[in-house]
Amino acid sequence: MDPAPGVLSGVANALAALMLLLEFGMLRQALIRDQVRLYATQSALISVLAVVIAADRGLPDLYALAVLSAALKVVAVPYVLRRLLPGSVMAREESSGVAGSYTLSPASAVLASIAAAAFGFFCLGSLHLGNTGGLAIAGAMIFVAFGLMIIRRDVASQAIGFFSLENAISLTALVVAAGLPLILETAFLFDLLVAVVVFGMLIRAHHAKARSLSTADLTRLRG
């Protein structure tokens, strides 16, 4: 049997589990601004986790990464998203197609996501790489993020799903690749910012054409 985790790795696992819970929160959340808030909270936890791992393993680069990541994901990305999402949509979300955008009933959606999370948890957990508990939770988060993109039928939730997928991958990187050079991590973060801006512009373009954020009418092109 594995030895009991130390205090810091226990804290790391607890933070990862909280991030997974927030992921489920995003899946269930009906309002875009609340989804963005949950995303910002999840991103803040990533930064805290980076600090914990930096202290645990003596990696000073991770402190810088934590600050950069917080500046970008907790402040800049939510700001950009709020700026780029059409104001009229944020004000009248009931009619914009976000609240009721489930392809499954809410209960089935949560059950399906729990099943997906369990699958991801055991898949990555069985690899025994790095911090096994953290990696298993990251695996669960990846699958729930994919579930969010699949189950919700509106562009805002799908975009948030993608950004939280990126958070899940950041979590994976922290638990198995904490020593990744800072310059590469910074490049990843910058790239995320570019992606957020482009997603925001495409959401605007979609809203201008469809007068809604729902993707239910995107059925003309079938591969």
């Binding site: 993109m149 690749a177 990744l180 490049a187 570019v194 512009m201 979609h206 201008a208 995107l218």
Partner: protein
């Protein structure tokens, strides 16, 4: 020289953003021509060894092969776009400026990807290609383009998420042997292959194949491809199909090299064979039933990417040389075919093939050139694709993959029927004059800018098919040896 390659297209994008819009076409064409010149100048050096001048920039025979394909299309499409933007969006300065800026940025990101020495930077470059090209698709400002752009950016980004996960596992594997400060450079990773832990490398390869495979257009993650290709502006479709798919395949090839060095060739080859055959099967059947000419060419791209995957899975030097030749020949053929189809679209104001009739009579240059490009795509001699597919099949037979080689030949033949039947219905029929004056289309080319690059593409195809230059043959041979596992 590598630094210049990375700078030119980016500088052109900046110049297009700030200079008066009337200069943007000249800037773009000049930058593209300069880039092509730089890449050609790189060939002799890369044919004999690895070029590495600056940290994080590196070019070897494999990367220069992919660079040649991208740089040629960048130059050809830059010329074509001058005519296209004038005809389709004449007077719309806003569109012209945005198009030129994004077009140069797109080319820049595709040129940067094969020059990156690190798998992490390679991932970033491919992600940049996605977001920039999605904006280019959305630039068309139609309902369908907005829908295609959204599907494209979401599916491709989700795929690239998996590729990033693969990249992280590659780092984990590398850090076990090369130390924590390992910067994910793939050359040391391949060199240390035998000492790397197997499980993370296998996982990295699988995730990268599925993730980058989304952008390559491999079945079953190809679903964004026909939509984005058919709804984008024609110059963008040509670059997406001829250069972007290959650039993404380049990323798969790098992970393949690492995987072969670590876990041996059996699992990586079987994986690529399965993806390749499934993609080829799907595409060759879909090619048969298409009415939209750009969608037809898009499925033909899925077919060719499948052939590339099968070629790599054969693993013999002849097949790998065929794969590298196919990357270049496909860029020239698919670029020419899309550009030719774009002339038809401008002339007939539709993408529906049944409505395009009498192409040979109405378009005296573009008609025959489009026919030649489609024949080249269908691997008829003397095109470069005939040579490359011949090499791939010969390599497959030589390495004992008789059944896979036979399947390849059968499915390519099915696709041949689909492509040529559609093209001949557009070209060798009588013009639709009998339907009334309103439907009549006047004879004549819309713009010389849109003929010259297609002519160049067909010429390149003939050169590649009949007698590739000596340095190029050496480059391909060296690249094939590298893909096959030699340093």
């Amino acid at each position: 020289m590598l630094l210049a390659l990375v700078i030119v297209a980016f500088a052109a994008a900046l110049a297009c953003a700030v200079l008066p819009v009337r200069h943007a076409p000249a800037v773009t064409v000049t930058a593209a021509a300069a880039t092509l010149g730089l890449v050609i100048a790189l060939v002799p050096a890369a044919a004999h060894g690895t070029v590495a001048e600056v940290t994080y920039l590196r070019a070897d025979a494999v990367s220069v092969t992919f660079l040649l394909a991208t740089a040629f299309l960048y130059a050809a499409v830059a010329v074509y776009a001058v005519g296209y933007v004038r005809l389709e969006h004449g007077g719309d300065d806003r569109y012209a400026r945005r198009f030129c800026v994004l077009f140069n940025l797109f080319a820049w990101s595709m040129l940067a990807a094969p020059l990156m020495s690190s798998l992490a930077l390679l991932w970033i470059a491919v992600e940049v290609t996605t977001v920039v090209s999605a904006l280019l698709v959305a630039l068309e400002d139609t309902d369908a383009a907005a829908e295609a752009a959204w599907k494209y950016v979401l599916i491709a980004s989700a795929g690239l998420g998996l590729a990033l996960l693969g990249t992280i596992f590659a780092y984990y594997a590398g850090a076990q042997v090369l130390g924590e400060h390992f910067d994910l450079a793939f050359a040391p990773l391949i060199a240390a292959g035998a000492r790397l832990p197997h499980a993370p490398v296998l996982l990295a390869f699988m995730l990268a194949t599925l993730g980058y495979g989304t952008k390559v257009g491999l079945f079953p993650v190809h679903t964004w491809l026909p939509d984005a290709h058919s709804e984008a502006a024609t110059p963008v479709s040509a670059l997406l199909s001829g250069a972007l798919l290959a650039t993404s395949f380049y990323a798969v090839a790098r992970f393949y090299q690492v995987a072969v060095a670590t876990i041996g060739s059996a699992i990586p080859r079987d994986t690529l064979l399965a993806f390749g055959v499934a993609s080829l099967l799907l595409a060759s059947l879909y090619v048969l039933g298409q009415r939209d000419v750009k969608r037809l060419l898009a499925y033909s791209s899925v077919e060719h990417m499948g052939i590339l995957a099968i070629g790599v899975s054969f693993g013999s030097p002849v097949a790998l040389a065929g794969v590298l030749l196919q990357v270049m020949a496909h860029a020239a053929a698919k670029g020419s075919a899309f550009m030719g189809a774009g002339v038809f679209r401008v002339k007939y104001r539709t993408k529906e093939m049944p409505a395009m009739r009498g192409g040979l009579e109405i378009l005296p240059w573009s008609g025959p050139l489009f026919l030649l490009a489609v024949f080249a795509l269908s691997a008829l001699p003397p095109s470069g694709i005939f040579r490359s597919e011949f090499e791939i099949v010969a390599g497959g037979l030589a390495s004992g993959h008789d059944a896979a080689a036979a399947v390849l030949v059968i499915l390519v033949t099915v696709a041949f029927f689909g492509l040529t039947a559609s093209a001949t219905s557009m070209l060798l029929t009588r013009p639709a004059r009998s339907l009334g004056a309103a439907a009549a289309v006047e004879r004549g080319e819309p713009s010389a800018w849109m003929v010259i690059p297609v002519l160049a593409g067909v010429a390149v195809l003939v050169v590649l098919g009949v007698h590739p230059p000596g340095e190029l043959t050496m480059l391909i041979a060296r690249g094939a040896a590298q893909l096959g596992g030699s340093p």
